[in-house]
């Protein structure tokens, strides 16, 4: 049965995710960052669904496991498309949207195929492991793509400050999850400790996006090169 701390994080997460959407509506940027907001709408629905299944079937049940891992894979895919939508915003003026969409679909299909190939060789429980491995691989692909996007943003003279904060917070989120998956693969006994941090870090993404939508004016621009780590030593 979920405890009071678990419910507190669930309520906080739901509040922050709703805050992102409300801020986007108030700032009139809901359409501009539609996929990001779609992800923020899906997150609380999935969280409440998980809590419902957990309370009904228990943590060890097959129902809960399937629900958890498949909804996690679904959320990761939506987050992947959120990242692609940030690519579309950054490269809007270059008119390469069609190629970006095709490339993103090809990369997603390639990652799914790779995951299936790995899982089918090493496990008999293909259905559960596929969803888990797909999420794990997509987090790493997402991290690499975010890094590439940040490298591209660094080459630009002026970029909307809001977009910079969205990209960087997504990078922090992806790198934390990629690191946590890798750490638990290396030391499975650390899973219980890492799993405590996951919902807390999960709250940081909506918090930083809400801050970017609420505090940073739509028209504010920053010079990304001045923010980079390389600028530290200059």
């Amino acid at each position: 049965m979920p405890g009071s701390a678990s419910y507190a994080i669930l309520f906080l997460g739901t509040f922050l995710e709703a805050l992102v959407v409300v801020c986007a509506i108030k700032r009139k940027i809901l359409r501009k960052y539609f996929v990001l907001n779609l992800y923020m709408v899906l997150c609380p629905l999935v969280s409440w669904g998980r809590h419902y299944t957990l309370a009904r079937d228990g943590v060890g049940s097959l129902n809960y496991r399937y629900f958890y891992f498949y909804t996690d894979a679904l959320l990761t895919i939506v987050l992947y498309f959120s990242l692609i939508s940030l690519y579309l915003s950054v490269f809007e003026e270059m008119k390469v949207g069609r190629y970006l969409r095709l490339g993103a679909l090809a990369l997603l299909a390639g990652t799914s195929w790779f995951t299936y190939a790995v899982v089918s060789q090493s496990s008999h429980k293909i259905l559960t492991y596929f969803a888990f491995e797909l999420s794990q691989n997509l987090y790493f692909v997402g991290l690499i793509l975010t890094y590439v996007l940040w490298a591209a943003v660094l080459k630009m003279r002026q970029t909307p400050a809001q977009l910079i904060q969205l990209v960087l917070s997504l990078g922090i989120y992806f790198s934390f999850f990629a690191a946590s998956y890798a750490l638990t693969n290396l030391h499975p006994n650390l899973y219980s400790r890492v799993s405590v941090l996951i919902p807390v870090v999960g709250c940081l993404l909506p918090l930083s996006w809400a801050y970017a939508f609420w505090r940073v004016p739509n028209e504010a621009r920053l010079s990304p090169a001045r923010l980079a780590m390389a600028a530290v030593t200059r």
Binding site: L19, W150, A161, R215
Partner: protein, 133 residues
């Protein structure tokens, strides 16, 4: 082996994102002009000094909490700790890095003062609304 490489890359990428993120938060607040009250209370000099950071954060904790800036203040606190560590390490080895760390610590203090200014303004609005009601 692959997991170790992924872990190493993730930590490097994390720092590559975290540092610019904190700097973007600081840059976004650097244009904010502090109110005379906050300037008086904090006693900030121009440019702000890193030595005042802890004091400004203590004042910040006296104000009513706002969920939307809590994460950012915490992130800047972690960034401040990292830069402060770099300052200690570079004390004798790299004077140019030390000068940069001092500037950066001062900017962290200014960020905290801006957050304080916003919280004071928020509390004042809240109080005004309660009096009107």
């Amino acid at each position: 082996m692959i997991a170790a490489i992924v872990l190493g890359c993730s930590i490097v990428f994390f720092l590559q994102f975290f540092v610019p993120y904190c700097r973007s938060l600081i840059a976004a607040s650097s244009n904010h002009v502090l109110s005379p009250e906050v300037r008086d209370v904090t006693g900030l000099t121009t440019p702000a000094s890193g030595e005042d950071f802890q004091r400004v954060v203590q004042l910040l904790h006296l104000c009513p909490d706002r969920p939307e800036d809590r994460g950012e203040i915490r992130a800047i606190g972690v960034y401040f700790g990292m830069v402060n560590f770099l300052k200690t390490v570079s004390r004798s080895t790299a004077p140019s890095v030390r000068a940069w760390t001092e500037r950066e610590l001062g900017r962290c203090t200014y960020f905290a003062a801006v957050a304080l200014d916003r919280r004071v303004a928020f509390s004042r609005d809240l109080l005004a609304q309660q009096i009107e009601a």
